[in-house]
Point group: C2
Chain length 377, copies 2
C-alpha cells in the first residue's frame, strides 16, 4: 500500500468552464462499517460520462497540465448553467463502480470479514486509487475472480436483471431491447437465453447482428434495414413482446416500437376501435444516447406508457429480496452471464487525454474503456 | 311511440370512401335485461367524431341526398385504409351516450323497474330515435332531471371523476389540466373546488381564463402567454402538482409540463444528480386534439411517465366500488357539478349538413353540439 491517492474530479466553475483533473487526496481511514478498497479496475459507463462531461460542450475541450497530470477544460453553454447550479464550484468525484482489493477494514465484523478479499463496489467516485466504502456497497467476488472481471458488477448486470424482473412483475412475456449489442445488451441476451425469455434485439449494424446471433440470439432486427418495421413486427407477433427498453430516447425508435406492437396486437381484433387495441404497450427509456426530442407518432391507440427507467428506482420497486438474489447471481456468474469486454485499458492520466475523450465520448457500441487506477502513467 | 327509427351510421367502403347517412331500422324489442330508450338528447363528443369521421379527410366532404335524408361522403387517404380494415363495409352506428325515456322494458325486475324513467345510457349508437340497452348501461336520473340535462352523464363526468381518483390512487396531490375550459374541464374545476383539490387549468385564450376564474378557479395559466412557462412553474411550486391530464397530445405541451414540474422539484435538491429529481412526474394523454407527433424534450430527468388514458381502462383500475360511487354522484349532481352547456341543438338530419360538420369538426372549446333525435327535420 503506497501513500499515493489520486482522484479524477469534474468541476464546473462560475465562469462557465468544466475542468477535469486529477487531485491528490489522503488515503482514507475506514470507519467501523467501512473498508478501504485499492481500486484496480473501473469501467467508463454512459452514466459516468454524464457526471464527467455534464452539460459541457466537449467539442470545445482543450488539454493542459503535464502528461502525468493532465487537465481538460471545456466550455459550458451559458443556457445550461442554471440546470447545474447545485454542482458549481464543487469538485465532483467521478466513477460509479469498480473493483479491487480490501486493504483496510473497520472494526465491525462485517467489515473485518472483507479484509483481503476482492470486492466490487458501487458509488463514491471509483476513479481513484483508494476508496473508503460502506460494506453494504460492496459485493464479494468469488475466489479466483479478478478485479478486472468484477469491475462492472453493478450497473450493467443489475440493470439487465432489473429489466427481466420488471417484465415479469408487470405481466409481460417477452422483451425488446434497443442498442442491443452493448455490454449490457450482451448480458441481457445471456440472461434471457438462460431463463427462457424471448428477447428481440434491435441493432443498427450488420456486424452487431452477427455478434448477437453468434451468441445464440434468436431475434435480431437491424434498424438500418429497409425491412426494419416489417422485421420488428414479425418478431413481436412471434414472441408477444409488449415491453421494450431503450437507452437512446431521442428520435422515433420508441414510437416505431409502439406502433409495431400495436400492429401485432390489432391483428387479433375482430372489431375496429378508435381507441386502438386493449393490449398495454410499454417502453422504458433508460438512457439518453440521443439527447434530441423523443417523437411519438401515435398510431398505437391509448393503451401505452413511455417511462424513464432508472436502476435504483427499479430496484426499489422490485424489493430487497429480489435485489439480494440478483447480487448473488451476479457474483456467481460474473465471468459468464455478466462478463464484460473492454477494448481499451487506461490509467487515470490516460483517461484525461483528448484522444481518449474523443474516443469514449462517442459512446459507440463495441468501444468500451476500463480505467486501471493502479497503472502508473 | 311512433314506428319510425332512424340511426346515424358511418361506413368506410373498399373504394376509400367514408359515408355518413341516416338509415331506417326497426324499433327494437327488449330482451329480459334490456330496456328500449326513446333517445331525446345525445352529445357530440370528440370520441364520437373519431368514430364518425374515422381517418377520412373531412375537407373533401360533400353532401348529397335530400334535406331530410342527407348523405355525406368524404375521401379516405389510401395509406390509412389498412388501419381501419376491420370496419370496412360495416355501417357503424355513431353515438357513445345520450339520455331519454324508457318506453319498453324486458321481463327482468331490473328492467321493469326502469319503465317510464328518464335514464342516461352509455354505448350502442345513441344517434337514433330508439335504442335497446342493457340495464347495466343505464343510469337512472333523479325525478325532475331532463334528458337534455342528463345527456352527458357518462363520458365527461366519469372522465373528470376518474382523473381525481387516479390522482389519489397514484399518490399525487394536485392536478394540471390542459384544454381546461372544455365542458369536461369545467366539471373537473367544480369537482376540485368541492373536494378541496388544487387544480391548475391550462387554457389558450383570455376569455377562457376569465370563464374559469369566474367559476372560482384559483390557478389558470394561458399557454399563449409569453410568461406561460414561468406562470405554470409558479403554480406547480404553489400546488405541488405532479400529475397532468392532456387531451391534446401532439406538440410540446406534455414536454413543457414535465419540464416545469422538474424545475419545481429540483428547487429542493441540495445535490446535483445527472438523473434529475426523484419526484415522479406523470402526464396522461386522454385525447388527440392534435394528431401530430408528441415531442418530448427531456430536461426532466428519469422519474417520469407519459401514458395514454382511456376512461374504461381507468375505471377498471379504480374498481367497482369506486365506479358505483362515481355514478351515484353524477346522478345526484348532474345539474350542478356535472352540468353541460351546448351551443347548438340539432336534429339527426341537421347534424349531417356540411355547415354543421365544419363547425363541430373543429372541436373548438366553447362550441358544443347536442343531437336531439326526436326533433323532426
Amino acid at each position: 500500500m503506497t501513500d499515493k491517492n489520486t482522484q479524477l474530479t469534474s468541476t464546473i466553475s462560475e465562469d462557465n468552464k468544466l475542468t477535469l483533473a486529477l487531485t491528490d487526496i489522503a488515503i482514507p481511514q475506514p470507519s467501523a462499517d467501512e473498508v478501504v478498497i485499492r481500486i484496480e479496475a473501473a469501467p467508463l459507463n454512459p452514466s459516468d460520462l454524464a457526471v464527467m462531461f455534464s452539460v459541457a460542450n466537449m467539442t470545445s475541450a482543450s488539454q493542459s497540465g503535464s502528461d502525468v497530470n493532465p487537465v481538460i477544460t471545456a466550455d459550458v453553454p451559458a443556457q445550461f448553467m442554471p440546470a447545474v447550479k447545485t454542482r458549481v464550484g464543487k469538485a465532483t468525484p467521478v466513477g460509479n463502480e469498480g473493483a479491487g482489493t480490501v486493504v483496510a477494514a473497520g472494526s465491525s465484523p462485517a467489515a473485518q470479514a472483507l479484509m483481503g478479499k476482492t470486492v466490487a463496489v458501487i458509488g463514491g467516485g471509483t476513479y481513484r486509487q483508494y476508496l473508503a466504502a460502506n460494506v453494504r456497497s460492496c459485493l464479494v467476488l468469488k475466489d479466483g475472480t479478478t478485479a478486472k472481471e468484477g469491475a462492472s458488477s453493478f450497473v450493467n448486470p443489475l440493470t439487465a436483471l432489473a429489466m427481466v424482473a420488471t417484465m415479469r412483475a408487470e405481466g409481460h412475456k417477452a422483451i425488446i431491447h434497443a442498442a442491443a449489442a452493448s455490454n449490457l445488451g450482451q448480458m441481457l441476451n445471456r440472461i434471457c437465453i438462460a431463463d427462457g425469455v424471448d428477447l428481440i434485439n434491435i441493432v443498427r449494424k450488420t456486424e452487431q447482428e452477427t455478434l448477437l446471433r453468434n451468441m445464440g440470439a434468436k431475434y435480431v432486427v437491424n434498424s438500418s434495414s429497409e425491412t426494419f418495421i416489417t422485421d420488428l413486427t414479425a418478431a413481436i407477433i412471434e414472441t408477444g413482446a409488449t415491453i421494450a427498453f431503450d437507452p437512446i430516447g431521442g428520435g422515433r425508435l420508441t414510437s416505431d416500437i409502439l406502433n409495431c406492437m400495436e400492429v401485432a396486437a390489432a391483428r387479433d381484433m375482430k372489431e375496429h376501435s378508435v381507441y386502438g387495441s386493449d393490449t398495454f404497450k410499454q417502453v422504458y427509456i433508460y438512457g439518453a444516447l440521443n439527447r434530441g426530442p423523443i417523437s411519438l407518432n401515435r398510431n398505437f391507440g391509448f393503451a401505452w406508457g413511455v417511462n424513464g427507467f432508472l436502476l435504483f428506482n427499479a430496484l426499489g420497486k422490485l424489493g430487497t429480496e429480489t435485489v439480494v438474489a440478483m447480487r448473488k447471481r451476479v457474483a456467481d456468474e460474473i465471468t459468464t452471464t455478466f462478463a464484460s469486454h473492454y477494448t481499451h485499458e487506461v490509467s487515470l492520466a490516460e483517461a484525461l487525454q483528448l484522444a481518449s475523450i474523443a474516443s469514449y465520448g462517442k459512446q459507440a457500441t463495441g468501444e468500451k474503456y476500463l480505467i486501471t487506477p493502479q497503472k502508473s502513467n
